[in-house]
């Protein structure tokens, strides 16, 4: 089984947020509107954290794009009373919307705060209801998060089957990775020694967010210079 993982090179990342918008459009994530956004109800399966440190003129800015870490030891799945969030055989942490009771236990158990709740029935003006048919539109009251664009894997598998060949790395690329204008994001099978991600994950520049929690994230970051092991983040 492949172990899908992502590598984000923070030296390249400019905090442009193309990944953020790409993800929203690809995954039928509605915008929240100003009032709801103010209340912390905007949904971003990937979000760019920005940290500005220091005093003028010695200021340092970091941008950290943060999708779901797709933890190998996810603290979010164990706590789910209905198994609506679980780790599938390919290591992706998935959500079953029709099974979720909306208790938000998983959102609180996730140390990365990357799970989102549908406070309302998702709303789009009639004109904007042009959904990606590969991705379910979530009902009110359930939790959602980055799926590593799992639907793209499904589609790739179907395609590969039709073409009668093996799945290649470029067959399955999440929307955020696909658009990242600096090519700061990489995606692939961490267990395939030939893959770029496997190679980069072993780089000396690599760290993972909150690594000491033992969640074994499958999102790796590359950084330049000192980094507080994700601590400072």
């Amino acid at each position: 089984m492949p172990r899908w993982g992502m590598v984000i090179d923070l030296d390249k990342c400019t905090g442009c947020q193309a990944c953020v918008v790409a993800c929203r459009v690809e995954n039928n994530v509605p915008f929240a509107g100003s009032e709801q956004a103010e209340m912390g109800r905007a949904i971003f399966w990937i979000e760019v954290l920005s940290i500005v440190e220091g005093e003028y003129p010695n200021v340092r800015t970091r941008f950290i794009p943060r999708p779901c870490m797709q933890c190998d030891h996810p603290p979010c799945t164990a706590v789910c009373p209905t198994g609506a969030t679980y780790k599938n055989d390919e290591g992706l942490v998935a959500q079953i919307y029709p099974r979720c009771i909306g208790c938000r236990y998983c959102t609180n158990a996730c140390p990365y705060t990357v799970k989102f709740f549908n406070w309302f029935k998702p709303q789009w003006p009639a004109e904007m209801r042009n959904f990606n048919p590969d991705v379910a539109v979530r009902p009110v009251g359930v939790v959602e998060k980055c799926t590593f664009c799992h639907h793209r894997l499904q589609k790739a598998k179907e395609q590969v089957k039709i073409e009668g060949r093996e799945l290649r790395e470029e067959d399955y690329v999440p929307a955020c990775v696909q658009t990242c204008p600096t090519k700061a994001m990489y995606f692939g099978d961490l267990d395939d020694p030939k893959s770029t991600v496997a190679h980069l994950a072993k780089s000396t520049r690599t760290f993972r967010l909150l690594e000491d929690l033992g969640t074994e994230p499958k999102v790796y970051y590359l950084s330049e210079g000192e980094w507080y092991g994700g601590r400072k983040a």
Binding site: Q36, M39, G40, R41, L49, I51, R66, P75, A78, V79, C80, P81, T82, G83, A84, R99, C100, I101, G102, C103, R104, Y105, T107, N108, A109, P111, Y112, T113, F116, F117, N118, W119, F120, K121, V140, G141, V142, V143, L209, L210, L213, R231, A233
Partner: protein, 447 residues
């Protein structure tokens, strides 16, 4: 309606609430009913609008509802647990208070569970926890232990009620059918009494570990995550202590009200308040001990993420709540209850009111600040509950009080037969028992 035959009954006062209902009751019930009705409206509003009707957001995903859940479940320890302990210890003074305590448990549990249901994004799928239950989830443990607790508490409330219901069946003209049904053919025969006593003792023993488990498991909902401020090994006992603490406080308040409303000063006497007050004082000290060691270990460890939550509570946005909690849970009860002169009926009630508020604040400062300070940076906001949440909270309190009041109108709130039993047998028994404590007295069985 009063039955003349029994007017000389020394316990006639205990029947009064059932037999006669004054205007005050209707006015209060009406007011509480109105609040409850408003809450139902708020609930419908929330159902149709989604949980967006609350003040919750990211990262503060849990707020008033979960606070109230923990709080109510905590209060539930008033009854069953306390009464069971007192029963097992054969504390004679318990007789007048066990019933009022047990009722609190049974009723309040519904509201505890109700708060969880309120908090669900999809209450329509609530039963999925059974259908798709994931045994690894502490929430499922909660479901199991609370269900068990509710069942056990109901039985435990019901068993000692049976003789009283039989009394009512025999003496009261209204609701005969109901009383007959519930009395289960109680005649008061020796055999029945023996059986009942055995059953009560078994339940009393059973109910203690279940009660302890309930709040332990509630605490584990938090402690089993690795979130700062939650991931603590002492949360289990800490929550249980807090629960008993708040339970006693709630009980004292309930007793105070019953005593006043139904003129039961003879039954609920200073000694009850005094004893419970001392118990409350002990719990306050215990609570302080737990709180202190919880926060000291956090502080001493100095782990930055833990400290973020720590400071949020001690000096940050949540400091007013935190310090108010310390004052209401520790300072006020300590001052009032450690002094015999202030440990009066009124004094204990004031201390209890303080503790009730304090324990609610404790629940709040456990739930919210940890969520408000996630590990990774995020725009942090102060959580302001919405009108829906406040309405639901008010509504739940109102409904609880209303149901409690109704209970007192249907069943005696002080266990009549136990009082009688105390009067008839208790004295002798106690004398015998006390003698057995003393050197030379009674039968000594040494191991």
């Amino acid at each position: 309606m009063a039955d003349a035959r029994h007017s000389h009954d020394p316990d006639a006062a205990l029947f009064q609430p059932i037999l006669r209902t004054g205007k005050g009751f209707y006015v209060t019930a009406g007011a509480l009913g109105a609040v409850a009705a408003w809450a139902i409206f708020a609930w419908l509003y929330q159902l149709t609008h989604g949980l967006g009707a609350t003040g919750l957001g990211r990262p503060i995903y849990w707020g008033l509802y979960i606070t109230n859940f923990v709080f109510f479940i905590g209060i539930s320890h008033a009854g069953t647990l306390i009464s069971a302990i007192l029963r097992l210890c054969q504390a004679e003074w318990r007789r007048a208070i066990t019933r009022s305590a047990e009722v609190i448990t049974v009723l309040v549990l519904f509201f505890g569970v109700g708060n969880v249901l309120l908090d669900l994004g999809r209450p329509d799928r609530a039963l999925y926890v059974i259908r798709y239950g994931n045994l690894r989830s502490p929430l499922l443990w909660d479901v199991m232990s609370i269900t068990m607790y509710l069942t056990a508490s109901t039985i435990y409330l019901y068993l000692p009620l049976i003789p009283d219901i039989a009394l009512l069946r025999d003496r009261v003209t209204k609701r005969r059918r109901l009383y007959r049904l519930l009395a289960l053919g109680w005649t008061g025969s020796e055999r029945q009494q023996r059986r009942l006593e055995v059953a009560i003792s078994i339940m009393a023993i059973l109910v203690i570990p279940i009660a302890v488990s309930v709040h332990t498991v509630v605490s584990w909902v938090f402690a089993m995550t690795i979130q700062p401020g939650w991931h603590s090994t002492i949360f289990g006992p800490y929550f249980v202590v807090g629960a008993i603490f708040s339970g006693i406080a709630a009980l004292i308040i309930a007793m105070g009200i019953i005593r006043r409303a139904y003129h039961l000063g003879h039954y609920l006497r200073l000694v009850h308040f005094n004893n419970l007050g001392l118990l409350l004082l002990a719990m306050s000290l215990l609570w302080f001990y737990f709180t202190f060691s919880e926060y000291l270990t956090t502080y001493y460890g100095g782990e930055p993420r833990e400290m973020a939550v720590f400071y949020a509570k001690l000096s940050g946005k949540y400091a007013p709540f935190f310090w108010a909690m310390v004052v209401t849970n520790f300072v006020i009860p300590l001052v009032i209850l450690s002094n015999r002169r202030t440990r009066t009926v009124a004094g204990t009630i004031v201390a209890s009111a303080s503790v009730t508020i304090g324990m609610w604040l404790e629940r709040l400062t456990i739930v919210v600040p940890s969520l408000a300070n996630p590990r990774l940076p995020y725009a942090r906001g102060l959580y302001m509950p919405s009108w829906v949440e406040w309405s639901m909270m008010a509504g739940f309190f109102a409904m609880f009080i209303l149901l409690y009041m109704c209970f007192t109108k249907v069943f005696p709130i002080v266990s009549i037969w136990e009082i009688r039993e105390g009067r008839e047998k208790g004295l002798a028994e106690a004398q015998e028992r006390i003698e057995s404590y003393l050197p030379g007295g009674g039968v000594v069985r040494e191991g």
